[in-house]
């Protein structure tokens, strides 16, 4: 992996989220998104909040909808799976839009054994609760993050963008 390539990919993602009106990012790390989180934390266009657990990102960003801020909850796939209650109770009950960024862990090529359960069940869980999933498979897909954000606001529900390892490493 080239650090410069990962930096370039992170900068593109950060720029796209800024351009679509996001100014609050709440995150918990995953090894694949440390560069991305670092970029958000250093970029004056954003208020970045490092939360204690992924559900807090859902809560904080959902409340911030009422402050008129565009928000982005950024987390790993495993953390996302801990958020099903918060998403279905808060965002579905009250119809609060939210853009959630996750890593697409457990795909072929991910050598972490403890993430293989995500490969098996992540997309099935996403489908089970009817959250639209927009996958970012290559650099040219990154602008779709803005489309996903706008779609979330249009449908008044969360939308998930799934980031692949290759995109985050600047290899696709």
């Amino acid at each position: 992996m080239s650090g410069n390539a990962a930096d370039t990919a992170s900068r593109r993602i950060v720029d796209v989220t800024a351009d679509c009106g996001i100014s609050l990012v709440a995150s918990l790390p995953d090894g694949w998104i440390t560069s991305l989180i670092t970029h958000y934390s250093r970029d004056a266009r954003f208020k970045h909040v490092a939360v204690n657990r992924e559900e807090s990102a859902i809560g904080l960003c959902s409340g911030a909808f009422f402050s008129g801020l565009g928000t982005f909850a950024l987390m790993g796939a495993s953390g996302f799976l801990t958020c099903i209650y918060a998403i279905t109770k808060i965002n579905y009950t009250y119809q609060i839009p939210l853009l959630i960024g996750i890593t697409l862990r457990g795909r072929p090529g991910d050598r972490a054994k403890f993430h293989q359960s995500n490969g098996l069940y992540l997309q099935s869980v996403i489908q089970a609760i009817d959250i639209p999933l927009v996958t970012i498979e290559k650099a040219d897909d990154i602008p779709r993050i803005g489309t996903a954000y706008n779609h979330s606001r249009t449908m008044s529900r969360p939308v998930v963008v799934g980031l692949t390892r290759e995109v985050l490493r600047g290899e696709a």
Partner: protein
């Protein structure tokens, strides 16, 4: 202190603040006393997220935002205090209602209710302004300082179990959302929704 007397006092004194209530008793009792439908977000079934939800609201306004969590909710996610300390929002005030029961489920006993020192946890998290109200008189003396003085503040409300079941606010989620959001817009907040209700 008596739970209902405590909330009646708070409802009488907190007239200008934005209110976020949590699952169970805090939503039910605030609704029962006030029947307010605009400046209150009844975040029922919030499972510990009421105060971070309130923090999100507080990020975009200079108005004071008051959040209520139950002690059951608090024990699910005490790390919320670390986020709130980090944010250090001058307009966020967080109450934990310690009634030592799960009020929304027929006052079933809280297994940790007698063990917990919520103010001590807050202190250990580095929070500076902490209040611990065990009596109505103490609450009357300390409330203005907690609410009016700028700075994030955390308080414990030691109350007796309510001892009766109250109905939930009769509002569906989208109605809460639109009443609350339009209220914020109308009273000087930033636009919440993509389209204004009354275009200029």
């Amino acid at each position: 202190m008596n739970f209902e007397a405590c909330f009646r006092f708070l409802a009488e004194r907190l007239k200008d603040e934005i209110i976020v209530t949590s699952a169970g008793n805090s939503s039910e009792l605030w609704w029962d006393i006030t029947h307010e439908t605009e400046r209150v977000f009844y975040l029922e079934a919030s499972m510990s997220l009421a105060s971070v939800f309130a923090a999100g609201i507080a990020l975009g306004t200079e108005r004071t935002v008051v959040a209520f969590n139950g002690d059951g909710a608090f024990c699910m996610n005490p790390g919320m205090l670390l986020v709130e300390r980090q944010l250090a929002l001058p307009n966020l005030k967080h109450f934990v209602i310690s009634n030592r029961v799960y009020g929304s489920t027929n006052d079933l006993g809280h297994p940790f209710g007698e063990l917990m020192d919520y103010a001590g946890i807050a202190k250990a998290c580095g929070i500076e302004r902490i209040y611990d109200f065990a009596t109505l008189e103490g609450l009357a003396q300390g409330l203005d300082d907690m609410i009016k003085a700028p700075g994030y503040a955390f308080a414990v409300l030691r109350v007796d179990p309510l001892g009766r079941h109250l109905p939930s606010p009769p509002l569906d989620g989208p109605e809460v959302k639109f009443r609350f959001g339009r209220y914020l817009e109308r009273t000087g907040g930033r636009p919440v929704f993509d389209a204004p209700l009354h275009p200029k």
